[in-house]
């Protein structure tokens, strides 16, 4: 029994190179993540909810997921580095109030006011994001608490700006954007889609994105590889602020008002989209495709349940149940993906 080493080649083929077909299946299973649950949900509603597949309803769904999708895009960056941003809803309100004042500034011609308002909104969001990121990273304190603080600061600020008054009567050109369609889709949804695609490109194709993932997985190893992890962590929060600023403008255009209480609870929705989409709260793992699907799932569920006509309370319970079921389903998918590798 001691001589079996004869005839064993020195270099046993350690592995076959991955076949492309496998790679594709694996990639879809991994990236699509919650996609299967989403497809099932769509199938169920198509069969059971009247008007679900109407063009107008699809437009509704796209409109309704837009803001969450925009916020969730930035949130994905933050969660990928292992942080969290609870302030997005409040900062959105603050951005909207400040931008609303600019938009109503009577000294500015309408096109200028619109551009200035958009820039202001984004700037406010980014400044808040910068503060979040700076404080969390510089002092190494949990972003949960920093952004919880910012949640309160920004909400108080939003209320203070106009002393709790709602702003309205924005220029028509601005309001029209909220209901405009392009290529049969709501223009605001296209904005969100553009952001998702841009973010996806950044995360998967750039050095910046690579480092965001790496920091989320092992910050110390990245630091010791000679990178300044600080600026990347701050950048993730600034990106979240940027999407919040864009979200605020889109919100204002859609509802033609800016109210200091808008966005309450949006943070949980955005985080839910990201996590349902398979991004790990510990950072380092996930994708914007997943976030996109996660936001769709939440939107489709809310829409379909109303169309079926279930009562409010039962609807809330079903929503909770389906979210849990979706992640359970996803855990099986992950296991299968693991096995087919």
């Amino acid at each position: 029994m001691l001589n079996e080493n004869r005839g064993i080649p020195d270099q046993v083929a350690v592995s076959e190179p991955q076949r492309p077909a496998h790679a594709v299946v694996q990639r879809v299973l991994r990236e699509a993540g919650i996609g299967i649950a989403l497809l099932m949900l769509i199938a169920i509603f198509s069969a059971s909810a009247p008007h679900f597949t109407d063009e107008s309803n699809i437009t509704n769904i796209l409109t309704q997921i837009t803001i969450n999708l925009i916020m969730a895009t930035g949130m994905t960056f933050v969660i990928l580095i292992g942080g969290i941003d609870l302030s997005v809803g409040s900062v959105m309100a603050l951005s909207a109030m400040v931008a609303g004042l600019v938009l109503k500034a009577e000294t500015l011609p309408v096109p200028v006011a619109i551009v200035a308002a958009a820039l202001t909104s984004v700037a406010v969001g980014m400044v808040c994001g910068f503060i979040n990121g700076f404080v969390a990273s510089f002092w190494g304190v949990p972003s949960f608490i920093v952004t919880l603080g910012m949640l309160n600061i920004a909400r108080g600020g939003a209320l203070e700006v106009t002393n709790a008054r709602t702003l309205f009567e924005f220029p028509n050109a601005f309001n029209d954007f909220g209901t405009a369609t392009l290529l049969g889709m709501p223009a605001i949804f296209l904005v969100a889609l553009g952001l998702v695609l841009l973010g996806w490109g950044v995360l998967t194709r750039t050095v910046f994105g690579r480092l965001i993932y790496a920091i989320g997985n092992n910050e110390e190893a990245v630091r010791l590889s000679g990178h300044d992890t600080f600026i990347f962590k701050v950048a993730a929060f600034v990106i979240s602020g940027l999407t919040v600023g864009i979200g605020a403008i889109v919100y204002m255009a859609r509802l033609t008002i800016a109210s200091p209480i808008l966005g309450t609870g949006f943070e949980l929705n955005a985080i839910a989209a990201v996590i349902i989409g398979g991004t790990s709260l510990n950072g380092g793992r996930g994708s914007l495709i997943g976030t996109f699907l996660g936001a769709c799932l939440i939107g489709v569920l809310a829409d379909g349940l109303i169309l079926i006509g279930v009562g409010d309370f039962v609807r809330q319970m079903i929503t909770g149940g389906v979210i849990i079921l979706a992640v359970i389903l996803d855990s099986y998918r992950a296991r299968i993906a693991e096995r087919t590798r």
Partner: protein
Amino acid sequence: KAEDTKKPVIGLVMKSLANEFFKDMQEGAVKHVEERGDLTLIPVGMHSETDIDTQINAVENFITKKVDAIVVAPADSRALVPPLARAIKAGIVVINIDVALDEAAKKQAGVSLAFVGPDNRAGAKMSGDELAKALGPGGKVVIIEGNPGADNAQQRKLGFDDSVKDGKLDLLDSRTAHWETEEANTVFSNMLTAHPDIQGVMAANDSMALGVIKAIDAAGKSGQIKVVGFDNIPAVQPLLKEGKLLATIDQFGSQMAANGIDYAMKALKGEKLEGWIKTPIKLVTAPGS
């Protein structure tokens, strides 16, 4: 401080000041107090409508501070009764505004106190009746409710239900949008998909009416669906003018707390107050209509 002037101190316990309605109410009160000049006012708001705890805390803090009177817009018509009863036992005059405290709860706590405020149910009915008038019997309507569990939401829902019954309307659906514009927009868009034949909407406040009207615009049904609201906030004024909002209700919130303070001052001077001192409500429709 109160010590040097000997002016009576009145604590004002408000609901969420993030709501313009209560913000107006508080500002009206502050202005009124400035005009009167014979008392000191300490206003306290809360973070959200469901934040009953904060109101109880505020009442307890006022007992600690030994204020002379408390004017309160209760977040819950029952939970506030025991702390207010403690305030009364501590010799503090309590005036209830906005939403009436529950009779049974008052009886259980062994207190009776006056309510200075509007009749939400009657107001909602006025608003709903306006819709019924415009649609005629058989009109297909839906209700967008306020926060389930909130007293005024329940009162307004009851008022709308009264209108539906009296006006022989066809109620297709009734859903909550938690007082929020964006949620009302989303919920109503979906209701409209489910019931494309909706002719009228009763929204339990104007913020939600705003969201409903945007949804109608987005669906290209402007003018085809009538909307009524409640509260008469500034943001709906242009919509009233354009005819997109059929009617709303003004509760004259800015005067409500001021009235409450006046009654508190009267009570401090020994006047006996009891029962429901109704404050006016007014139906507001498009100017010139």
